[in-house]
Point group: C2
Chain length 338, copies 2
Amino acid sequence: MVSETAPPTLSTVASRAGVSRQTVSNALNNPELLRPETLDRVLGVIAEVGYTPNRAARQLRSGNSRLIGLRFEPAQEGTANALMDRFLHTLVESTRETGHQILLFSGDPEDPLDGYDDLLRSTAVDAFVLTDTYAGTPQAAWLQDRDAPFVAFGRPWDDPRAHHAWVDVDGAAGARLATAHLLEQGHERIGWLGWERSSRIGEDRRTGWKAAMSRAQKPTERLGGRLTDNADAARMAAHERIGIGATAFVCASDTMAVGVLRALEERGLRAGTDIGVVGFDDSAVAQVTGLSSVRQPLEDVAVEVVRLLHETLAGAPAPEQGTVLAPSLVVRGSSVSG
Amino acid sequence: MVSETAPPTLSTVASRAGVSRQTVSNALNNPELLRPETLDRVLGVIAEVGYTPNRAARQLRSGNSRLIGLRFEPAQEGTANALMDRFLHTLVESTRETGHQILLFSGDPEDPLDGYDDLLRSTAVDAFVLTDTYAGTPQAAWLQDRDAPFVAFGRPWDDPRAHHAWVDVDGAAGARLATAHLLEQGHERIGWLGWERSSRIGEDRRTGWKAAMSRAQKPTERLGGRLTDNADAARMAAHERIGIGATAFVCASDTMAVGVLRALEERGLRAGTDIGVVGFDDSAVAQVTGLSSVRQPLEDVAVEVVRLLHETLAGAPAPEQGTVLAPSLVVRGSSVSG
DNA sequence: GTCACGTGCTGGAACGTTCCAAGGCTAGAC
DNA sequence: GTCTAGCCTTGGAACGTTCCAGCACGTGAC
């Protein structure tokens, strides 16, 4: 059984410092109201007894919990995991500076709204961070309808009613970077291996490839592919396109890029020297296999999310425009000859 | 600005149902005290107005927050991340069933104790989960001294004073599995590539390799290596050992196993067919590169951690023995010929 | 000397819940 | 009919904080 002594309260500190409760409270929250010598004395006692305000009491009275809710989706093993991890780390780190903490919760996988309602009604969190606002997810609209503060990582693709703070990474720019890099390496027939048309993110990235190709006045017919996110599908698609003269590939994911590498092995071709390959997301796999890859600035995204959260909680209206951050290209052996 | 109507409280529900506050409270917390018809009526009103108890108030009065603290360390890019991710997902998922949620916090990287104290003194969390209790980390002893409830993922290697609930994965068994598998494949000179002697986890895994080898009466001289966790170090160590006749390798990490694969490429040898390789942790890299690997049952660890947490919070004394779970071996092409 | 004012501090009230002691009511025993 | 017991329900108190109104005191203006 736990036998610790009860933590000191405002009253404890107050009586030891010879002042009232309220004065101790002010010492912490409005120090400018105290005479310097009183302030010193009170802070001294606070330090001495190791007083820390009780969160529940503070939350009950003041109405905010200093907690940010984040629904942590059931894991799909793969790169998405690792991305989330990088994002989450910076999120935790930068909320520390605003005095907030991250509350992870889960919900019924069948119901994308499960969990939010409870936290909201029990006033357990001050705001939410959304991380999966691809087209069609209802969370943003639902929270917006309830005037619940939140910031989304991911733009509201085709919801004109959406009017909330968001941050996203410019996927088209990433694909453009990758394509331009391959063009610079002298490639002319550069293929695109991306996701199904239903993926807004995938289509966005695809436009980057298209734009870079057309600016360079290179053809794209039969070079673009829409596949499921799967190494084997990519392997086969790569074979087809190499057959019609493709000498390089930009892929919507590292998983697909790995499929291309397999195709090269099967043909006895060397990545980089013979065929250029660039993946997307700079996963551990890319780092280990020497795969060039587009890297999302997840750390910057997290910092920006926290900044917007701060503004939103301070009552600022949602910015007219969301923030779009540019990814970078990490060049490794798979896209340069030598 | 937020213009939502104030959430309903116990009193709201009480007056609408024509009962007292306390009766509504009992309807939720001690329903057996109410007459069935009263219970029905009250629950009806609760559902109708969408009442959810205010967390802060409940926490203030009852003294527990239903929150579990987890210090989320600054990311070191690599496999450790992905491991943590798998663990965390299941942790979040299974705490849902006990009505708890996970509070992530961070702290000064220089001070392994930073953050814990604040949460404890502000009574913000009911307990902690520790995830990095390798030899020499002070968190466990510190929490134990303060009678703070916690469960550790990782055993207290050499602290005889330690007396707390913990769960760990049997690293030696994992290495044994991998070694036995390679022996079955007909290998006799099987090398070990592990970490420095200072790593307790590394030494534990190493004993598994040693034990399997000596049981099969195979020599281990000059076949074991203690390196930094780095593909290039592993690559060089593999070359040396292949030079003295090693035909297979068990590695303490997938990163090292990738180093071995590189060495094989450089020699024109094929993994699986010519030289057997098994990694550790079943990372995304292993999955993509067809690397056999020892997989930690992180999901089971998380479930067990939550179970122990539950017991600890119910006042049960720490079990005499920690729980040690067995890993499994995921066989892929790198360890079987054909 | 009175009044107005600003500074520094105080004490009661309130946030919404659960604990606790006690009240009303019904039923059974005598 | 009275008493006792048990069931269901109630209202006051308390958790520890912050909000708010107000008090005591000293200073300067008239």
